[in-house]
């Protein structure tokens, strides 16, 4: 009897435990219900993985020129040959004919020659994760054999490899720019909202001044100021700086609004009454309680940076070769001749579209999960 009474409350206790989740778990569970968000997040993760191992996944070096295969259309991967089905995929060799009428080179599949695609083949040398040199690529047809999944550009460089490398640059620009703008925006937004008065006024007027200019023209003017003799990586960092110098304003405004809202709440008042210093209130009370908000607004801001970078690079004011980015790759398509004859040069545009869409979906999912009933 006694034993039963003692044990009776136990299941109740257990069910209560299973019903109460930490805030993090609640957000995670809500996020998992947002199907578009999960799909977007998965694509973003997959892309990050691809960009990290870009050289390993790419069959060719991005600057290697195949002069005999200039403007080659994307090659098809085949499983069926004249001998029937074979498990190992292959590409056909390439025959080219220069047409006498317009002097253009036309390519045909040479069904006599087959290049089977192997895993872990030797190709161009590269540095794996910036750590050690190797020449093993995930897949390929062997050195100097053609495998151009997305075709080639006007120098006969492999577009697929360049897409991976360019995607890494575009994505990194977005991430670094959001990081820099977050540092700027969070600091200034917090200061602005917390201290108010003259500092607040000054910061808000500065943001208004930035917003008074149309974004693309002011970005163009600032990137045109980057010295043309700078090496590629410095220009890359310069573009990141320019993007964040213009982009922090929106973030700072949001952080300021959030700071004002939380600053009036009871727990901050309690802390203040207890004699907490400003530093403690900011770092222990304000910042942690807007952390989810910061993650959401920064996820939603990354696509904007990526779009701006691609626009700048497309106009020739952004990333410079030998680095490449999706915008820079699309610049090759900006003439009617190339556009009508070599439409595969538009593939980088599809990549931009997919990336930005996925990031938007991920951001929407996170936003709905972090604050289901509030609208931003």
């Amino acid at each position: 009897m006694d034993k039963e009474n003692l044990e009776a409350p136990a299941p109740v206790e257990e069910s209560r435990v299973s019903e109460s989740y930490s805030q993090k778990r609640l957000i995670w569970k809500r996020f998992l219900r947002h199907r578009a968000g999960v799909a977007g997040g998965s694509i973003v993760l997959f892309l990050c993985f691809c960009f990290l191992f870009a050289e390993f996944l790419a069959p060719h070096d991005i600057s290697r020129r195949y002069f005999q295969h200039v403007y080659l259309p994307p090659q098809g991967i085949h499983f069926f040959s004249e001998d029937g089905f074979q498990l190992r995929p292959f590409v056909y060799g390439i025959k080219s004919v220069v047409s006498p009428e317009d002097g253009l080179k036309r390519y045909y599949e040479d069904s006599e020659v087959q290049f089977p695609i192997y895993l872990f083949v030797r190709g161009d040398r590269y540095k794996f994760l910036w750590l050690f040199e190797t020449e093993i690529h995930l897949f390929g047809t062997g050195k100097d054999n053609p495998l151009f999944l997305c075709g080639t550009d006007r120098f006969g460089r492999d577009l697929f490899s360049r897409l991976l490398s360019g995607g890494r640059v575009s994505f990194t620009v977005g991430l670094l720019a959001i990081f820099l703008s977050l540092v700027l925006g969070t600091t200034l937004g917090l200061v602005s909202g917390y201290y108010g008065g003259f500092v607040d006024h000054l910061i808000q007027r500065t943001i208004e001044l930035i917003f008074a200019f149309p974004s693309i023209p002011i970005l163009m003017s600032l990137s045109a100021l980057l010295p043309p003799q700078w090496p590629s990586y410095l220009t890359f960092l310069g573009i990141v700086t320019v993007l964040s110098l213009i982009g922090w304003g929106g973030l700072a405004r949001e952080i300021r609004g959030k700071t004002l809202a939380i600053n009036n709440s009871d727990f901050v008042l309690a802390a203040r009454v207890c004699g907490a210093k400003d530093r403690r209130i900011i770092f222990i009370h304000l910042l942690p309680s807007m952390f989810s908000h910061i993650i959401v607004i920064s996820t939603l801001a990354v696509p904007g940076f990526i779009l701006h970078e691609s626009t700048l690079s497309f106009l020739g004011l952004g990333i410079k070769p030998p680095l490449t980015s999706w915008g820079l790759l699309l610049a090759d398509a900006m003439n009617l001749h190339a556009l009508s004859l070599y439409p595969w040069l538009l593939i980088p545009g599809v990549c931009i579209l997919v990336t930005v869409l996925s990031l938007n979906f991920l951001g929407d999912g996170l936003r709905d999960a972090a604050a289901p009933y509030s609208t931003y």
């Binding site: 008074a212 149309p214 693309i216 003017s221 691609s310 439409p343 538009l346 579209l353 938007n360």
Partner: protein, 332 residues
């Protein structure tokens, strides 16, 4: 209301001054003054070293007062603009900036404003449709198209348009705002008509992402409002559904759109610049890009100053319209 408008206009003055200062900083930032590039140009022509070239540069340096301290230069620059509408000289084109820019700037602004009207005309009915039939197939379709529109950069859409015009319609006379016979001709009724037949391509390209975002905002706003009690009251009184939606719903849901104009206009203007470059339109965009790449800074600065002033005026109109539309706004 009048005092509100006057105060609002006065409020613009400090911003305008700051904008002009920022534009001037952009002009001044490249290393060397603009005569450095002039000198280089003369050098290329093989005139460098000759008395006349040096003399010419010295005269120009004196004329533009490049030896004066920077604030004197600023006041001279802004003074010339205010008093004589003189934005300086473009060194690449060897013309007055104002002459070079006026028609192109006008076309750019015309394109921006027509795009604005276009986005509203297209987006509001779609937004209303989506909000009154939420989670229907049509709603999902428009939402999907909207997401694509938001994710497509302007230049990509312009490229796609070019691609279709070249490969599907097989016309080579793509881009451009005017038929060849009207380029450079004085403005007549026929020219305006010709402009109208060409302008819709850039308008769609520029307006795509704006339309998408307005649809989203309109749908969200109207959905919120249609759930409120005054809508229920209207229906309970036996009003026709169309009247409930238009007079009780859309009328209120429009207000946030007007206040969003301040965000909308800069995007449209940015889009007009990029689209102008890709489609090769005779607008200010291509000129601005040339100015930047050849460090023709007076031209670039003039464009920055003019476009941001335009945005300021746009914001002014948006604020006035909002105060007039929304009785809840206190402006007394």
């Amino acid at each position: 209301m009048h005092s509100y408008i006057i105060r609002r206009i006065l409020h613009m003055v400090p911003t305008l001054i700051l904008i002009s200062m920022a534009s001037f900083v952009v002009i001044q930032l490249p290393p060397g003054d603009m005569l450095t590039s002039k000198l280089a140009k003369l050098e290329e022509q093989g005139e460098m070293g000759s008395e006349s070239a040096l003399e010419q540069v010295a005269v120009l340096r004196e004329r533009y007062g490049l030896n004066d301290p920077i604030y004197v230069q600023y006041f001279r620059w802004i003074g010339n603009i205010i008093m004589h509408l003189d934005f300086g000289e473009s060194f690449t084109f060897e013309m007055d900036v104002i002459e070079l820019l006026s028609e192109r700037m006008g076309l750019t602004l015309l394109m921006t404003i027509s795009t604005l009207i276009f986005t509203w005309i297209v987006a509001i009915p779609i937004g209303v449709y989506s909000a009154t039939r939420p989670y229907s197939i049509g709603d999902y379709g428009f939402t999907f198209i909207g997401f694509i529109g938001l994710a497509t950069p302007n230049f990509l859409l312009a490229l796609v348009f070019l691609f279709f015009q070249v490969s599907v319609f097989e016309t080579q006379s793509v881009g451009g705002l005017l038929s060849p016979e009207f380029v450079g001709a004085p403005w007549t009724l026929a020219k305006v008509k010709d402009l109208m037949t060409h302008i819709w391509v850039p308008i769609i390209v520029i307006g795509a992402s704006g339309t998408a975002s307005i649809i989203r905002v309109m749908r969200g706003n109207l959905l919120d409002i249609l759930g409120q009690q005054h809508i229920q009251t209207g229906r309970a009184k036996g009003l026709r559904e169309i009247k409930v939606i238009v007079k009780y719903g859309v009328r209120i849901a429009i207000n946030p759109l007007v206040s969003r104009l301040g965000l909308e206009l800069p995007n449209l203007l940015s889009g007009a610049v990029v689209t102008g470059i890709v489609l090769g339109l005779p607008t200010a965009g291509p000129l601005f890009l040339t100015a930047l790449t050849s460090q023709d800074m007076y031209l670039a600065g003039a464009f920055l100053l003019l476009s941001s002033s335009f945005l300021l005026v746009g914001n002014l109109f948006a604020d006035i319209a909002l105060a007039w539309l929304d009785p809840r706004i206190r402006y007394g």
